[in-house]
């Protein structure tokens, strides 16, 4: 290979970072301009979570710990959206809490639910089909209290109604402790592992997680040991769940489905940048000198 060619290739390891930023931004923006769909592979952890929620008996509720806000909205919004969609469609009752991480959690959960109710499920009613209990402090201590008697931790819901108010919160009249909860689904950037020893370990309640992609690597071991029933991993998990919920791609409208294509292009741009950097590195080494 000629020296000029090696020199040109060697420059690939020193591309100005602003070009990288621009390429990444364009790669992520492109799918918003040119609409496209790509096939989705449904991973076992998503399928297991879907099946677990689908098996919820009519006399129980799903407890959703939705403790995320704008920072991880890109990944967590889609993860709660598809699960709420599933439960509202099947008539599975659910109780939303927001444990320990962000006081904005209940508000973001409300936004997701109200959007779904307004667009797809106008007959579902607050207090009857779901309740949002709001934010609370306390790590495993709060989990213990909720498991033993939910009223020890929450006297009122996020709107200020007493949990014993049968007129506004009829759903809560049959939810007292962990015996009334079929499973717990915890969604945040990095869900609290204490759900596993303090609730699953003591009461056997199935636990599911929705987490940021980067955090997921620490949770796979719990799926292998059956301490987690399933998990949604980042945008991918939300898109996969949406694919299970709506086999017809034209009916998929969740944020996860919308974001998986920009994410795919973003990942590809990063991989290409690393490959180019290494081509430059080897060209420089062959030419002599690392720079």
């Amino acid at each position: 290979m000629g020296k000029q060619m090696l020199n040109a290739l060697a420059r690939l390891q020193n591309i100005d970072r602003r070009w990288l930023y621009l390429t990444l931004a364009l790669a992520c923006l492109l799918p918003f301009v040119v609409k496209m769909r790509l096939p989705v592979y449904v991973s076992p952890e998503t399928r297991e979570l879907f099946n677990a929620i689908d098996r919820c008996p009519p006399d129980k509720v799903v407890l959703v710990d939705s403790a995320w806000d704008a920072g991880s909205l890109g990944e967590n919004w889609g993860q709660v959206e598809v699960v709420f969609d599933h439960m509202l469609r099947r008539g599975i009752k659910f109780v939303v809490i927001s444990l320990d991480i962000t006081p904005l959690g209940p508000q973001f959960a409300d936004k997701v639910i109200s959007k779904l109710v307004a667009s797809k499920y106008p007959n579902r009613k607050y207090g009857v089909d779901w309740v949002n209990l709001g934010f609370t402090k306390g790590d495993w201590q709060a989990m213990q209290q909720i498991a033993k008697d939910i009223r020890r931790q929450y006297k009122r819901d996020s709107r200020g109604w007493s949990l014993d108010d049968a007129q506004h919160l009829p759903l809560m009249q049959r939810v007292h402790n962990i015996d009334d909860v079929y499973m717990i689904y915890s969604v945040t950037y990095s869900p609290m592992e204490n759900w596993i020893p303090f609730v699953h370990g003591v009461y056997g309640t199935p636990i599911g997680f929705g987490c940021a992609g980067i955090q997921s690597t620490t949770y796979y071991r719990y799926i292998l040991s059956r301490q987690l029933v399933g998990m949604l991993v980042g945008v991918r998990g939300a898109a996969e769940y949406d694919a299970l919920l709506y086999p017809d791609p034209a009916r998929r409208t969740s944020l996860g489905t919308h974001l998986i294509v920009p994410q795919a292009f973003g990942h590809t741009a990063i991989i290409l940048a690393v490959v180019l950097g290494n081509i430059g590195f080897f060209a420089a080494r062959r030419r002599g000198g690392s720079r």
């Binding site: 930023y21 890109g74 980042g234 998986i260 940048a273």
Partner: protein, 286 residues
């Protein structure tokens, strides 16, 4: 050792001791506890079937009753709740578990107070900035304005309508949401730049790492499936990615966590016994 330090060390030790003892000491006195199937219960005694024998256990002021849930987890109940056929544990209390709710509440309240203390600390720092006209003191004015707007907007959460509700929507939807997402999304650019600059194939280990990173990254996105869907299924990138995440990654994470937890036990002991150096009081006493 200052008085405050002694107090904190004592409270830390007692709190740790309580949770340790509560974990290892049974909730009822073991040699006076009866576990069995409920035959009948009255206000003064419970009759339990233990194997083939029938035992009558007196119910006194210090007696506690646990009903076993289907999972075997104990649930503290009054005698009036017990029904024939329930599995129950009846015995005199060791008192430790009776306090767990109060101690848990104390912890939850402390956690909430920490947020208030954080706000007070910010108040002190920023009000001093304004009083002493320190450099960029106007940033502190903005801080107070932002807190005031946030508190007022928070009052609108849950309202059906009205100006507070509109203010809440503006603060959450139009300010916090785009700002939070923007700050977080900057990570993608830094990560892309860092990966480009530092990920070089300088050794076999780096090759292994890059190979698995590419498989996992492509396996996470539909392009991975699109690239390999004509190959046999075990060679699909998402399938290979799953193998790496479930098997190789889980093994490594488990090993790491064993090490980390051993370290955490050592650090926990040091905190419990207030042996940790370099803490707030050490700095003050220097």
């Amino acid at each position: 050792m200052s008085g405050r330090r002694r107090l904190i060390a004592a409270v830390t030790f007692l709190a740790g001791l309580y949770y340790f003892l509560e974990f290892i000491v049974p909730p009822t006195v073991p040699w006076r506890t009866v576990r069995g199937e409920v035959v009948r219960v009255g206000p003064k005694a419970a009759v339990l079937r233990v194997g083939r024998r029938i035992k009558t256990v007196p119910i006194r002021a210090n007696t506690i009753i646990y009903r076993e849930r289907p999972t075997g987890a104990p649930e503290k109940v009054d005698e009036s709740v017990l029904r024939r056929g329930d599995r129950a544990v009846v015995g005199p209390t060791t008192y430790l578990s009776d306090w767990v709710t109060d101690v848990n509440n104390f912890f939850v309240v402390l956690g909430a107070m920490a947020w208030g203390m954080g706000l007070m600390s910010l108040w002190m720092v920023h009000s001093a900035n304004i009083r002493k006209r320190r450099e960029e003191w106007y940033g502190s004015v903005l801080f107070f304005a932002a807190v005031a707007v946030g508190v007022i907007a928070g009052l609108g959460y849950g309202s059906a309508g009205g100006p507070l509700k509109r203010m809440n929507d503006v603060v959450v939807n139009d300010v916090l949401r785009p700002m939070g997402s923007t700050v977080f999304s900057l990570l993608a650019f830094y990560m892309a730049s860092a990966a480009y600059r530092s990920f070089r194939l300088k050794s076999r280990e780096a090759l292994l790492m890059m190979g698995s990173a590419f498989i996992v990254m492509l396996g996470q996105i539909p392009i991975g499936l699109w690239l390999t869907h004509r190959l046999p299924e075990p060679l699909w990138l998402p399938v290979m990615s799953q193998w790496i995440l479930y098997i190789a990654n889980s093994a490594a994470v488990r090993g790491m966590w064993f090490g980390m937890m051993l370290g955490a036990i050592a650090v926990g002991l040091r905190f419990w016994l207030s042996l940790e150096r370099g803490a707030f009081f050490d700095a003050k006493e220097l």
